[in-house]
Structures are given as C-alpha cells and as structure tokens.
Subunit: 102 residues, 4 copies
C-alpha cells in the first residue's frame, strides 16, 4: 500500500484558493479511498495506480479553470502494510511513549 | 504567521525509522508551538524565526546519530492570519459545504 | 506543457542509493522526453499523462528490489508554454539582468 | 555539508512570478555559497546554519512585497562530503555508465 500526500493549487487566482481546494477535496472524498485532510495537504491511502488516477482527476478539475497549476505529491510506498493512515501515527506515539496532537 | 510542514528522517538506518521520528516529535511537542502530526509529516504554526529554530533543533537531534539525513519542509507564510492549523481546514469545509476526514 | 521534478529512492538500501538512482535515470533517458538532471532531482517536460506514466515506470523498476520506496514529485502545469526547461531559466536571467549558475 | 534545494514564490502576484524569483536568485548569487539554478528550483551547498540564514534572507526580500508566500525546501545532509553539487551527478553517471542531460 502507498500513502500519497498531495496539494494542488491554481497560481493565477490570487492568494485565496479555498474554493479550488474545496473542489479537489470533494473529488477525494467521493473517490472511495481513505484519506485525511491536514492544514498543508491531503494524505490518501491506496494502490499506486489508484492514487495516480485520483491525482489526475483532481488535476483535470482545476485544469478547466486555471492556466497555471502547481502540484506537489509525496509517496511512501511500503509492501505488506495497510491501514498506515492510522498505524504510522500510533507507531510513533508508542515509540515516544506519549500521545501527540493530531 | 507561518505554517511549516516538515519531515526529517535518517537515510542510513533502514526502512523502520519510527524511533528517530519519535525523538523529533518529542522536540516539537516540548517546543511550546502548536502543531498537528499527520501520517506524512508534522505541521507547526509560528513565526518564521521560531519555526526555523525548531527545524534546526530537530536536525541537531538526528545529526548526532546519523551520517545522512533527509529533510523536507514546506511553508505557507500569510500576513495577518493566526490559528491557521484549524482555520484552513474549516475554510475549505465551509466552501465545500461538507465535512472532510481529518 | 508540464514540468515535473521528481526523485525516487529506496529507504531499505542504506545511505548510498546511487545504483538505484542510476537505474531510474536510465528509464528517463530512454523515455524520449526532454529532461535535466540536477543534484537533488530530475526535471522532465511533457504532457501530464506522459509524465505520470514515466513516474510509474520508474516506480516499477525500484518496486522489484525494494520493500519501501520514497517518491517526491512537483509539477508546474502551464497552458500554452513549451520549451520551459530552458525558457524558465532564461526568463529569470533576463529579469535579473545577469546570468546565474546552472 | 548539506545540499538545499528550494523555491520561494508569492501567491498574490498572479501566475508570472519571474520578477520575484529574479530577486531571490540575486540574493543567492551574492551569498558566496555555491549553487545551481534548475527549471524548478535552486540547489545550494553549504553548512546547515548558512543555508537556513540564506533561506531567511530570501524570505525577507519577498515578505516586503507579498502578503502570502509559499516556500519549499529539501535538504540532503551528509557528513564528510563536499562538492556534492557536482559529485552526486558524476556518481550517478558513473554507475549508469553513461552521461545524462544536465
């Protein structure tokens, strides 16, 4: 399974891009893949091909409205691991012997 | 105020780096800055100088034990905005007219 | 046209990953897409779908040999612009009125 | 020695940000640190503290003119290695047995 954190924004719409981010998030939310939104991006768990297909769908949504789009994506691909959206945080908390803010 | 998302890992300790991540997170947790841990990184809110000082402290912790360290950091610097750890997510949810998984 | 900068490394092979990077670069070099290698990643120019297909091919090469892979990708998608591997640098140099080290 | 790749852009100035990038690059060029500009960012070599001081100086230049700035930075920190701006590329080329486009 792979975790993908990504963010995608238009660069030609000024500094307030919440409307565009909301559209992208709606695509993620309806994808059926498990995800977590954070203040700097969205982390989605899935198979590589499904994640890249989702990224493409998000890109296509913004492409219709913007002439310049910036996309960042980061992948953590680990064989034999699933449920990593929760287990990575739990593992770090166990090792630290304390809870962190999530 | 600035949001900084960062991750910092040793590259010479094999694929299981939870112990090192736990040490870095403990530094963040004791810093007094507000933060949120997610499955791919940690988002901290603060003034630019305080965030870079925190990043340096985290780096110094790992530097003692590792010969090769990889650091990623991403900053969203916005004048006149504070509480962005919560408000960025709320703003997107309001614009989408629905809640997202966080 | 889109510029994609990416890096892809195994996390379970120790700190010297040049052999794996070399394999990935060979895939890029044989792809027919124009690219530039830099000390921290590789920038490739192409259409969105071709770039994601290339990223997948690079991932598949490492997936055979590694149980944990880290991938970073960053995209600058701009309508009506091609040759951006060269033109972005030239544009900045023109605006600065000087040459930079490349 | 550490390699830092970074990019820093204003988000409230529209899609053409070459003027701002040019100002940042001039700061880098005058810093005395060795660097290479690529189409997606700038890679600088130096000690950790010097690199973070440079990043701060670049941020301060844009902060005067923009209300929202996006910064990305990526660090490869390796003990006992210098000249990595050149040697990382050469090492990959040697391992691949061929030259790549740079």
């Amino acid at each position: 399974m792979t975790l993908m954190e990504f963010s995608i924004i238009p660069l030609d719409k000024g500094a307030s891009m919440g409307t565009y981010v909301a559209r992208v998030l709606s695509v993620v939310d309806e994808s059926g893949l498990d995800y977590r939104l954070n203040p700097m991006g969205t982390v989605v768990e899935g198979e590589w091909d499904d994640l890249l297909e989702l990224l493409t769908r998000c890109y296509r949504v913004l492409e219709k409205e913007s002439d310049r789009i910036s996309v960042q994506a980061k992948f953590d691909c680990r064989k034999g691991v699933s449920g990593a959206l929760e287990s990575k945080i739990l593992s770090v908390e166990t090792k630290a012997g304390r809870s962190f803010k999530t």
